[in-house]
Amino acid sequence: MSTILKIFVFPAAMVIMCLGVLTILGGHITPGGGFQGGAMIAAGFIFCLIVYGLKESPFHLSHDFLAAIESIGALGYVFLGIAGLAFSGFYLYNLGVDIYSIVPVFIKNIFDYPDPTHAGIIPYLNFVVGLKVMVGLTAVVIAFMGFNEITNDSKEEAQETEWEIE
């Protein structure tokens, strides 16, 4: 890749990621949400991976990190669902809003989202979905780039052995 791209892409990727975060944060009242914002953040990671390559990318996403964030995202979603089941009897009941007034006030306060809409658990669900989508989409590209490198290495090795035989 050209030098101009290598200078430009890293700061640009960070700005794209911030826009992704903003999309996640506005998911409960505007178009967008966890999936769309997570995909935008993943686009920032993928942008860097394509321009700098897997080894030289400024964003180092290890297997452990990907696994941990993916698990936190899934478990967070399940936790919010089960919390609704435990306190109201309905899976994924919006405890922070409590439209049927069946939940104690202190539980409602715990799951309240401090903004003018008081959207309850919806922003938290967007957050955990965003985390999951972010690492999920990036992991696919990392895997493909890893396979590509292995394939290229094996092709080079095969060519070298052919030359040695000749």
């Binding site: 960070m14 975060v21 944060l25 180092h60 957050f127």
Partner: protein, 91 residues
Amino acid sequence: MIIYVGPLVLGLLLGFIIGSRIKMNPESKINFDASVYLIFLIIAFIVAYFVGPFPYYLDTPFASGFVAAAVGIILGKLIFGRDRTPKKVEG
């Protein structure tokens, strides 16, 4: 100007997670020093101003979640984003 805690905290947290993964490879010729992050922060403020008070429209003159994410990225880089240690070469 009203400041809402929710988007600030979640934005900072997401930015922090992203920033903690910025780890330069010491064997690489590419090097981004502190000036890159300073320019990024200035650009982030400008972009946030032009985005406007999204998504609440009446709170601040700029997108507070955007700025929180930018600050989170830089904090994450400062706290956890150390350079990768070079692999030991077996002699």
